[in-house]
Symmetry: C2
Subunit: 717 residues, 2 copies
């Protein structure tokens, strides 16, 4: 019998492994398709918009202006309407929330099905509507939602869940899936599979096991293949305006071949500027978000909608109006031979946009970056062989205006990523510095596009404070390895400068939203604190093993704790800690009422019957639903007089620390293992044994496996 | 007073941080220079060798053969002599040992100064001597040695230590430094800074904190800059034969532009072959190393030296003799226009080596890969636009011979990396598959060099089982991002295939050497085991708080434990666990004799006097020395009658687990925190408090910092 049980367990393990990989595959495919859908939609909306506007301004600039504003307004309105009405959790970039979730905090609503749809359709509207925000952050959130929904086998609310997927019934598996989803999101957003893995590793997860890396890597590879296939399919022209200018890869293979050591100084300057502007960005957005949360958004949904519409109109007016006021420049003659057409209609991929130029051979440099999709603008800023395309004045104007717009747009109730705006800002001042370098050093092998790339890296480094993942992402999106050491240098400087002033964008935002992120490093003063001080000398609310239902309800009502120690009495009358009971599990028990009993004595049900009454999955906290509240449970007076035996449901051995352990150690335990509760116990009176490394090296001989196979019944979750 | 103390502490923290970064800088520079030194030496030795041999074979092939063999033999002998006489720990690749060290195992001698020199000079000899091994693994070990030596401020044995560097006096800081050193080693070996970071992350460390990544990244960037500077300096011709063919970057930018879906099948085949051959390689080397350890190497040093010399002679004979037996092929005519010269003298960088060809316009394809440095051979295998350079017969011969040589060479007493041999083997069968694809699909845009690259990735994946880091390293050494998804695909397949048969090369070797590596995943049967079972019901040897020196010595002599629980008695007579005492600390106490006292009562020294008698650094286990043994300590009979109070020296709060905790949980605790000892205690009788996430979010307000600043005295280590 035992052999059979063992075989069945092994089969189950194989099933689980296969299923995990299968779900990783599905996550990759799903995220890939979501990214393609968003990209095609955005490109098509933007394409229609620019084509229409350009057709109209041939006759009247004013009519074109109106159409442009209205088109953008309609898209932005659709986005904010979806968000405020259906999916409030889909506003913003979502990365701070995902980070919080993977750090161990539960935030309601961030992984719902409606949030997924809100993210997808909302970001189509907001990005297509030309706001100063990107679709990359939302795509990461989208990937995480897809992963979480697949992990629980569909949305429980809409009864789409399938049973066979419900093996992912513990927190750890769920978090693993969401990590995969994040990586898939980045991989899809930037077509940067390795960058996706590193992003998931460096930025979002707080604990990491190396065999997870392997699965995350697989997911990213699947995304890369899916996206590539779709791009190939679109090449035949079936995707409308989605063509060469579609998915991010801002190729700078034409950039400069080499760099001299004299150039390291201006590059360091770019790093410093990036650190300063990035830190300023974090600080400004922090203030504005704070103000928004506390004053503006308290006034209701209508204010949010009006706000977004206002921002949309201002953005449209600036991006249309400013180029109108700029004088056109004559096309450079030397470039004509290099295959770059000089006057280009706006909205079409390419440099040198002709916009309100009277002469045939003139172009408007501000329109080239402003009156364009952001992807194309960045491509133009990164472009090589186009020295003197932009005037310093235009770039400076653009920098100031776009920076302001990005700060104002941040925190409105639409899905908003900060990657692409950051790259826009960074590449603008990078190109500015590059122009001065070209003037100063007077060498022709310096390309302004290279400096634009470094500027982009520096601003992102100064704002988001990522290092390795950002470095790899920048390399992957520009498809150029030559500048890797330069990007590293610039990132190091900008992150160091930024760290002087404040924390990274995501950390600041998470703190503002009350998400208690545990940093990777314990605070210094923790060294001198003991574990018992951290509990704050609060009274611990503990439960007896068998408890009256009425008492339980009143205990649950009287506090907000999420975990309760359960104390049992041995036959000799001494107390003994039995384990930890979670509030959510108690609520499940109270709701089902199956385990109520009349006697206050411990029930002698031995595992078996317990398993019949409850499937394991009932206790799984559904991540993508709102969770249960005590008010949802209705108990009759008879019920309240009954008893309940908690023994089969509790976690029998939570991690414990002695009372005088240094808080630094407790912190490391908490953070490295992703815990939620730790018991502080008195210093033990004696020791049963000492486990060393060698004790944990059990061979796969199979002998030791069969030694103990009972005592597995009481694993409530 | 308190404020001043606090200020001083803060200053110390700043000092520590600055020092950590400074040491990271030094590690980068040191490893960079070591790599350059090794590379220049190897290239020069190899250059002289081939130049000399080629000059002689113009007259007599037999004399050339003799000179070639003797030259190689001399180099190999110098290598094995250095290793066996001075630095036995420097044999092999060193990566399993470093992995073990970072996993928490102490292995004597791996981080000594003599090991460092043995690694550097030994690998110059072994690689320059043309053995079938690489210099990349040893470089990783070199980086780790440099890091560890810098961290303890020089070698303690040779009195080179400086005091101001001794702030790195805990295990964690040391391990962080060694992690930096590993990354620097990889970055220097392959000129792959990002790959280095990922290698350190994926392959060697078992626990990881994200702020360490930042410092590792910095170290890698420094290495990249140092190496680049040196390469620039060498371009002026000051480095002898070290020139274009020096540092690894096998540029394949001329490779094929695109790939069709039909090609995915042969690529998958490459992945499967890689998995099979890689797993076979692991298994064969495992058997041979096992046999060597248990039979051959027990016979003393002379056997080791003879073995290496024998291998060297065989290798030389094969690499000289086999090309001699091969027929020359006529130079292809079409290539003449593409700038590739057809008959090249051997040893010179380039394809189409002329070796014993009678005709002017002929070349020897086997000599092109065999009678050449490995770097150049790989460059030739990766090269594009050279379809039909190699005949299938030559490649197959080379594959079989080189595979056998690599297996035989592995485990001899010389520093030996498996990266480059792995790439050689992989690219050979990759190119073979590529040749069949070219024949079968009959498209001209397929390049055999691309298949060679994929083959190399597949073999490394099948043998070492790395994923992300290997992927990035392959991309960085070939300077080409286009094939990233293909490399990912091939790696996924080869790792999966290999995992069916055995573990990765480093894990297998570590296990064979008795290094108890804890894998990232606990064994499945641990789920059903409890903590107390793991201690194996052994009797715990515990010490009283005040112990007679004689008793202590006999306890230490009677067992091999490294940690002892210390039990104290309260006034009411109850026992209480005071903490953990390490054997190494006890030895320090016994040696210094300062703390011996006459009375068996606890001394009332309150911290202060303790700190005067011992500086903290005395207790630091010197990683790079051999450690102390009980036999080194001489105690008089009077000494043995005295007492010692252990209270000030013990670790007052090691991590504890209740006796019935699931072993899976214990395993995770152990592994994630890098522990050495865990106390198993009885289930607690009551709970003092519960720590949750919110309790650990202490603000930097400064109020809480001053609450508790006493009670820090007893932190022995």
């Amino acid at each position: 019998y035992r052999e059979e049980q063992e075989r069945r367990e092994k089969l189950f393990v194989v099933y689980q492994v296969v299923l995990k990989w299968f779900v990783a595959l599905l996550i990759g495919i799903g995220t890939g398709f979501a990214a393609i859908f968003i990209n095609i939609s955005v490109e098509n909306f933007a394409g229609w918009k620019f084509a229409l506007t350009f057709a109209i301004i041939q006759k009247s600039y004013f009519a074109g202006f109106l159409v442009y504003i209205l088109f953008n307004l309609a898209l932005a309105f659709s986005s904010v309407y979806i968000i405020t009405q259906f999916a409030p959790a889909a506003a913003g970039s979502g990365i701070p929330e995902i980070k919080g979730y993977l750090n161990g905090v539960d935030i309601h609503g961030i992984l719902l099905l409606r949030t997924l749809f809100g993210k997808i359709f909302g970001s189509i509207g907001s990005v297509g509507g030309g706001l100063a925000l990107g679709k990359e952050g939302p795509l990461v959130h989208t990937g995480a939602c897809i992963a979480s929904l697949l992990g629980q086998g569909g949305s429980t609310k809409y009864h789409l869940s399938s049973r066979w997927l419900q093996v992912f019934n513990n927190d750890r598996d769920r978090r693993d899936l969401v990590t995969c989803g994040c990586a898939a999101g980045v991989a899809a957003a930037f077509r940067a599979p390795v960058g996706g893995v590193l992003f998931a590793l460096e930025e979002v997860t707080s604990w990491w096991r190396s065999h997870l890396m392997w699965r995350v890597f697989f997911t990213s590879a699947v995304v890369a293949v899916v996206v590539r296939t779709a791009m190939g399919w679109c090449k035949s022209g079936k995707c409308g305006h989605f063509g060469a200018g579609g998915f991010i890869i801002w190729d700078i293979s034409d950039g400069q071949e080499d760099y001299s050591f004299a150039e390291l100084l201006p590059m360091a300057v770019i790093g410093v500027i990036g650190g300063l502007l990035g830190a300023l960005f974090n600080q400004l957005t922090l203030y504005i978000t704070y103000w928004r949360r506390n004053y503006l958004h308290k006034k209701g949904m209508r204010v949010k909608i009006i706000e977004v519409c206002l921002v949309s109109v201002i953005t449209s007016a600036i991006s249309f109006g400013l180029p109108l006021l700029t004088k056109c420049s004559p096309c450079p003659e030397s470039e004509a031979s290099s295959g770059i057409e000089c006057p280009n209609p706006p909205g079409v991929y390419g440099n040198y946009v002709n916009f309100k130029c009277h002469n045939e051979k003139e172009y408007n440099d501000l329109a080239t970056i402003f009156f364009n999709t952001q992807d194309d603008a960045i491509r133009n800023l990164f472009s090589a062989k186009t020295i003197r395309e932009f005037s310093a004045q235009s770039l400076l104007t653009f920098l100031v205006m776009f920076y302001t717009l990005a700060v104002v747009t941040f925190g409105t109730a639409v899905p908003a990523g900060q990657f692409v705006p950051g790259i826009m800002i960074g590449s603008t001042y990078g190109r500015l510095v590059g122009m001065f370098v070209v003037k100063f050093y007077k060498k022709m092998n310096i390309e302004e596009g290279t400096y634009a790339l470094l500027g982009a890296a520096s601003f992102l480094g100064g704002s988001m404070r990522m290092t390795v993942s950002l470095c790899v992402i920048m390399v992957e999106i520009t498809n150029n390895l030559k500048f890797l050491p330069l990007i590293m240098l610039v990132l190091l400087i900008s992150k160091a400068v930024g760290d002087v002033f404040n924390e990274g964008l995501y950390e600041e935002q998470a703190r503002l939203r009350g998400i208690p992120l545990l940093e990777s490093r314990p605070k210094y003063q923790m060294r001198n604190m003991m574990a018992k001080e951290a509990c704050g000398y609060r009274k611990v609310v503990s439960l007896p093993r068998v408890i009256k239902v009425g008492d339980l309800v009143s205990i649950l009502r009287s506090n907000e704790h999420n975990g309760f120690p359960v104390i049992d009495h041995t036959r000799s009358g001494e107390t003994l800690v039995s384990g930890l009971m979670l509030r959510s599990h108690l609520l499940v028990l109270l709701q089902s009422k199956i385990d109520f009993q009349h006697s206050p004595l411990p029930s002698d049900s031995k595992g078996g019957s317990f398993l019949v009454r409850h499937t394991n999955s009932e206790f799984v906290k559904p991540v993508s639903t709102k969770g249960m509240s005590l008010d949802d449970i209705h108990l009759s007076d008879d019920d309240l007089e009954m008893y309940i035996d908690l023994a089969p449901f509790l976690n029998p051995s939570p991690y414990i620390v002695p009372e005088d352990m240094s808080l630094t150690k407790v912190y490391n335990l908490f953070r490295q293992l992703g815990l939620r509760h730790v018991f502080v116990v008195p210093r033990p009176s004696h020791i049963i044994g000492l486990i060393t490394r060698k004790d944990l090296l059990i061979e796969d001989s199979g002998d030791s496996a069969t030694v103990e196979l009972q005592s597995t019944s009481s694993s409530g979750a």
